[in-house]
């Protein structure tokens, strides 16, 4: 019994770490550019697709997939920000939100048109015998994804919190005009934030590809999960998004293991709903210090 529970939780942590990475990308973009990005799932899809190409077509190792997937998704995000979202941001948030919804669908459609298949399978990241803790079997892949995605997520949080351009993004987030006066270029900062957010989505796609495969549905699956994780965490909190993703992943596998597979699909919606209604600031809101 306990070993089954452990296996379920570890499986949940694996998907959860991928959700976290996706959610952190959404939060970075939202914090820095005040844009709610419903196209984020398409960046994950882009990362997964590049991973397929690198691993299954070019037969290069996963290390190259991580680099190329994050670069490709980051560039895609930057191009969208620069070409489409930057001009309409002046109008209103309503237009921007609807634009990202349709950009996300459109990108997934492009993928579907290019690869006219149900699903592309991507081989495992790490082979080798599984490890046993008591009776619980844990694959090396699970460990690699949990550890790798968590490290990547933590790295992303650290960039935003400590690096020089992270400071610029935070400045832009709290007061765009003030940041411009202080010498930050708002276009460059926005583009940078989208690159970082997109790159994290790309990494999430690389981590997800072996277990989810590559398909147009991956886009909507990941944007839903990423948003749910971000909402659970408080939407503006990077650490909250990290924990929110892990909670969501574990809750999903628990629901699938102990209730039903239909419940697994409903979990993310239920969590969004309950958190929004009972605790709209999220479970882990960022501490706000008011300077008087």
């Amino acid at each position: 019994m306990i070993s089954e529970f452990v296996m379920i939780v570890v499986g949940g942590l694996k998907m959860g770490a991928i959700y976290s990475l996706t959610a952190i990308g959404i939060v970075v973009i939202h914090k820095a550019t005040r844009t709610v990005n419903f196209a984020h799932g398409a960046f994950v899809l882009c990362g997964a697709y590049v991973t397929y190409g690198v691993v299954e077509v070019l037969h290069i190792g996963y290390w190259a997939a991580f680099i190329l997937a994050s670069l490709a998704a980051g560039l895609l995000a930057t191009v969208l920000e620069f070409g489409i979202l930057r001009p309409i941001r002046q109008a209103d948030s309503f237009a921007v939100i609807t634009a990202t919804i349709f950009i996300g669908i459109g990108l997934a459609e492009i993928y579907r048109l290019v690869e006219n298949t149900e699903m592309l399978a991507v081989g495992g990241m790490i082979g080798g015998w599984p490890l046993f803790i008591g009776d619980a079997m844990i694959t090396r892949e699970q460990i690699a994804v949990v550890v790798g995605a968590t490290i990547a997520a933590t790295f992303g949080i650290a960039i935003f919190a400590y690096a020089r351009f992270g400071r610029g993004m935070r400045a832009m987030a709290s007061n765009p005009r003030g940041a411009v006066i202080c010498g930050y270029s708002s276009d460059a900062m926005n583009a940078l934030a989208w690159f970082v957010g997109g790159a994290m989505a790309g990494l999430a796609g690389a981590f997800a590809a072996p277990s989810t495969g590559v398909s147009a549905e991956l886009s909507i699956l990941m944007v839903t999960a990423g948003f749910a994780a971000a909402v659970i965490g408080g939407f503006d909190s990077l650490k909250g998004a990290l924990l929110g993703g892990l909670i969501l992943g574990v809750a999903e596998t628990l629901a699938a293991g102990y209730v039903s597979s239909a419940m697994k699909n409903a979990v993310s919606f239920l969590l969004i709903f309950v958190v929004l209604l009972c605790r709209p600031q999220g479970l882990f809101p960022e501490a706000k210090i008011r300077n008087v």
Partner: protein, 605 residues
């Protein structure tokens, strides 16, 4: 305007009817396509209410269509309900679903509201798929051919006419509400919620009502079309259906119901026209939406001259705004007004009594233990450096901010239990520091909202009164024109408020505040950013209102000359406290005031 209100209300329905009848000449397949288009026009109109007017992003349209289709079909299958009655049942189910969605939904705005509708959409589809015994699960449900009084509508042409008639009927209430006062109130809510509340519009109630109406109509459209699909299954009402329905008002245009309507007709027919490139359809839609947002933010309907009524109206009265003629032209009146203000007879209790009111934000005491009285018919000034707490005090008096301690009495009545929306009914209106006109409405409509009959029933009744050109509606029109005339904006009555200069916007705010003939008006910096000439005409206007209507005025202003020439008494606030409260002339010579106010002003300026 050459068309009467009734024509404007009936036009969309007549258009759908005419389209359906004209479609009878088409081959059978295109009759089927046209029926789809006509029902999409209904969906587009319903979304015009929610997305175009109320600016709520909803991705629950598919779920509402499914609720209508399933409840209507099941009513026929399980309970042998006649088809028309089943449509009513479907609409009721849709209305209830809209209510269930809106009650949690309207607590949020923008992306969080979109998320709530997304959750609703997903949960409805999951439930439909899981309850196999009732809905047939993923395999779907067979829908019988509709019968009305024994006549069976199995032929495409017959069904097209049925669809046209029912669609025309179902959008009637929508058009009535949107073209009438309810639609103006929704636009007001979308453009400035605080100002809308200060003029008696209950924001959440209006949004819930919009959700209920639009969901009922969408569900009805779902039930009308279900027989044509022969089999309904959960997947055809999925998230993509919701998202593509959103394209109707966005691409069609959101400035009137015609945008959603035409968007629905054209975009629903597009897949059939584009059969040869069907694979690229979704991509084409997405590109179309993004291009529309980038290059035609007003939508395509705004490019057709007939639909661009608002735009054309902007240029009708683009002449020089006239200053209050009755004031300017009547020399005697100016002399009369220029006479020093005398304190009027004090009535038994003050108009406004503020006792020990405090408000803290964290460690910051924005307003600390403020007390003063404003007698009836007085013009009372409120001055103090920036951050002194003047606007916070106004927000507490008008009810937008709740105070921590103390009480505000209005004509002897404690206000803390009176919601902000009810205060205009007591006779209290205000203007805002940052001009808060409803920019997407004409000056005339802004003034009409100022009348204050904006409860949910009142705005519905007013919509009907307007459509039927009843006496009440023309009385409102006259009152609104009168108020605009008083501030010198009559010539620009049909211009959009957002197109006015800042000075004109401030005057429009005053027109909106005086039209209900309130007992007191709270003016927050009415002449900041306004030219000297305009400030002078505004001063005369305020004195006229005060003398002729007996309206009490409380006014926040940094322009000391303006304040002293207008006010009998001035209270001075600094760091949340009242540091002086006396006759205007005394106050400006007070040493404390000079230190707190002029000292800081000089360094700040």
């Amino acid at each position: 305007m050459f068309s009467g209100p009734l024509v404007r209300v009936l036009a969309p329905s007549l258009f759908l009817l005419a389209l359906s009848v004209a479609g009878l000449g088409l081959p059978s397949y295109w009759q089927y396509v046209l029926a789809l288009s006509v029902s999409a026009a209904v969906i587009g109109s319903a979304l015009a209410m929610l997305v175009g007017y109320a600016r709520c992003i909803t991705i629950a349209t598919g779920a509402m269509l499914a609720i209508g289709a399933y409840s209507g079909t099941l009513a026929v299958l399980r309970f042998d309900v006649p088809f028309l009655a089943a449509l009513l049942i479907a609409s009721v189910f849709g209305a209830v679903a809209g209510f269930v969605l809106a009650v949690p939904g309207v607590r949020f705005r923008s992306h969080n509201m979109a998320m709530v509708t997304f959750v609703f959409q997903a949960v409805v589809i999951i439930v439909l798929r899981q309850s196999k015994s009732l809905t047939g699960g993923a395999e779907g449900l067979q829908v019988p051919v509709p019968h009305i009084l024994g006549f069976s509508f199995s032929d495409d042409g017959h069904f097209l006419v049925l669809c046209g008639v029912l669609s025309a009927l179902s959008i009637l209430p929508l058009v009535l509400l949107l073209e009438g006062a309810f639609g103006k109130n929704l636009r007001a809510v979308a453009s400035n919620e605080n100002a809308a509340r200060a003029f008696g519009i209950n924001v959440n109630l209006h949004l819930v009502t919009a959700f209920v109406w639009s969901s009922a109509v969408i569900a009805c459209a779902g039930a009308i079309m279900a027989p044509r699909f022969r089999i309904i299954d959960p997947d055809s009402y999925g998230i993509l259906a919701s998202i593509f329905a959103l394209t109707y008002p966005i691409v069609g245009g959101m400035s009137s119901i015609w945008g959603g309507l035409m968007g629905g007709i054209v975009l629903r027919a597009l897949p059939e026209v584009l059969r040869p490139v069907a694979d690229y359809l979704e991509l084409i839609f997405c590109v179309l939406v993004v291009l529309t947002i980038l290059f035609f933010p007003q939508g395509f309907a705004s490019m057709v001259p007939g639909f661009a009524r608002r735009k054309a109206a902007k240029n009708v009265g683009a002449g020089e705004p006239t200053f209050p003629r009755n004031v300017i032209e009547d020399k005697n009146m100016i002399e009369r007004l220029a006479a020093p203000a005398t304190s009027p007879e004090p009535l038994g209790r003050p108009l406004l009594r503020i006792t020990g009111v405090s408000k803290s934000y964290g460690a910051l005491r924005a307003v600390a233990d403020v007390s003063f009285d404003v007698p009836h018919h007085a013009i009372h000034g409120l001055m103090g450096p920036n951050g002194a707490g003047k606007t916070t005090l106004f927000n507490m008096v008008s009810g937008l901010t709740l105070h921590d301690q103390g009480e505000v009495f209005f004509d002897g009545m404690p206000l803390s239990t009176v919601p902000v929306e009810a205060r205009i009914g007591l006779g209290m209106t205000r203007t805002f520091q940052h001009a808060a006109v409803f920019d997407k409405l004409t000056c005339l409509d802004n003034a009409r909202i100022g009348i204050g009959r904006n409860g949910i029933w009142q705005s519905t009744i007013r919509s009907a009164q307007w459509a039927l050109s009843l006496r009440q509606a023309s009385a409102e029109y006259k009152a609104a024109m009168g108020a605009l005339d008083a501030v010198g904006l009559a010539a620009r009555a049909h211009a959009l408020a957002g197109s006015l200069s800042l000075g004109d916007q401030r005057r429009l705010e005053i027109a909106r505040a005086i039209i209900s003939q309130p007992k007191v008006i709270l003016l927050d910096e009415p002449v900041s950013g306004v030219s000297i000439d305009e400030a002078e005409s505004l001063r005369l206007l305020l004195i006229t209102i005060n003398r002729e209507l007996g309206t009490g005025i409380v006014i926040i202003e940094h322009n000391i000359g303006f304040l002293v020439s207008l006010c009998m008494r001035i209270s001075v606030m600094s760091e949340g406290r009242v540091i002086a409260d006396d006759d205007a002339k005394v106050v400006v010579n007070d040493a404390h005031v000079r230190r707190a106010y002029f000292g800081e002003r000089e360094t700040a300026a």
